[in-house]
Symmetry: C2
Subunit: 338 residues, 2 copies
Amino acid sequence: MSAAMPEDSRFTVFAGAKVVITGGLGFIGATLARRLVGLGGDVLILDSVLPGSGANPFNLDGIADRVVVERCDIRDGDAMRRHLAGKTFLFNLAAQTSHQGSMVEPLLDLDINCRAQLALLETCRAVAPEIAIVFASTRQIYGRPEYLPVDEKHPVRPPDVNGIDKAAAESFHLLYHRVHGLRSTALRLTNTYGPRMRIADARQAFVGHWLRAVIEGREFEVWGGEQLRDLTYVDDAVEAFLLAAVAPSCAGLALNIGGEAMTLRRLAELLLDANGGGRFAIREFPAERKQIDIGAFTSDDARFRSLTGWAPRTGIAAGLAQSLAFFRANLPHYRQGL
Amino acid sequence: MSAAMPEDSRFTVFAGAKVVITGGLGFIGATLARRLVGLGGDVLILDSVLPGSGANPFNLDGIADRVVVERCDIRDGDAMRRHLAGKTFLFNLAAQTSHQGSMVEPLLDLDINCRAQLALLETCRAVAPEIAIVFASTRQIYGRPEYLPVDEKHPVRPPDVNGIDKAAAESFHLLYHRVHGLRSTALRLTNTYGPRMRIADARQAFVGHWLRAVIEGREFEVWGGEQLRDLTYVDDAVEAFLLAAVAPSCAGLALNIGGEAMTLRRLAELLLDANGGGRFAIREFPAERKQIDIGAFTSDDARFRSLTGWAPRTGIAAGLAQSLAFFRANLPHYRQGL
């Protein structure tokens, strides 16, 4: 969001508000923290700094003195209890995010993405029953789509352990609204990209891997190429988190957050355009990824738009240009990022 | 099944086969063990004898010297590894079965019904990759039905922590078939009743609670009364488990097991008929149950019938009569059952 644009009047509630962000050193969590600091929020970041999570202290560059950061694993119930007592907003983004990793270490994924989430909700009931929670869910839980674009009525059929765990965690969040009255919303994110995303390798998000390759002048691989994906620029995703937190009509709902739909090949071409050059190669899907690949995906986010007035503001060309500019200026901080 | 009826020729594979039943001291597990002993199976029963689980050594009366029983919690990974190595069939019935209990102790429910199930599948991959697994799932995962009868295409919307955990465990079983080739099937059971069910209190199944009341000459309460439910006699459920284990076409599928549909009021009347007297009172649903009640439910089990030829053989009148006869003869063993 441009600094010149007036802030949404609904966001005045964040001024002075006690806000917790789990996974707040990561890509989306830290971008959310930056925005909340701008809104005058009293921000506590919890992050376990897990390898591969994208946690990166540099993500807080420029706001580090205006937030509190605690190294804290959401699996640590006592610590969570201490940190959540009396808070007003919880942006719950802590996760193990690798799909392939969840197939290799399924119980680790379950403990972080499912068990700790249930424990967190119990903690909120006990020490912060009035807290407004926004949980970062994922379009991955739908599995291979039966129709496009996918709306929230689409069956939930997770293709991997990570998706099963995230789907269960999402269900817990909605159940705790229905039965215990917690003000909890789940946002089903699609491919979010932008400055501060993880680019060290392809473990988490292919876009980051591509961004790094073009900046370093290397060819990148596009697996398949004809699959549709939609892309959400991180500032638009952050706006969605804030709106979900302040819109009472979102409580108890799981809502899609979409973006701009295109084939991976088209996205790769746009990236080369934004970079003013570069090259990519179309490759067959690797076998171990194909097992859990979901094919084409585009998201129908009409419900969230109508409930909140949200709409993405940053088109793909601008989003890629801003991402490239950020990583060109800050590459050493992200090349070997966690 | 009557002793005079010839056994299904598909069940000859159980003669001498190494079979594990988790939750094998419970109602369905023990009835399955009795049947498998009759088929010549080499049966190992694992049970943690949790309070409220229905585990009851008397369930093995008459076959106790022909099975091996180990007190073993499925959360104990080392023990499970030892017990599963080299086995051919796994009937996986161990569970925390109380819906209300899952709302009071959600993490306990998750550890037993979800985390331990994932660990069990990992163990099977490691020490018994050829094993055929039948997992006891539940119609509870559908939540409040959108239409009746409910087929397997119905959305999965669990109404409580127990349902979310069971749904995740079921998904793990099917995923491990799809990705790792385990021969795993999930049966979504509805209300199973019959001899050896838990009747100590209403914690697990209302039918057991009613059976006990009429035998003891007490009035029982029917909550609501107009809700449809279908009832499966336990011998029919056991037949379904055996068929699922030997039918390769069931692998990787979650399949409904239904029964005879009727209102709770009608079921109560049939119970009084079978008993030759008694009384019940229609009552409002208690508030804490209403939160997680699912309304009317009937199951469409056409898919399982067509895949296996299964059909229920014991009608409700005969099933209730056999249940009453059993509990009249054995009441002291069940009055204070776990």
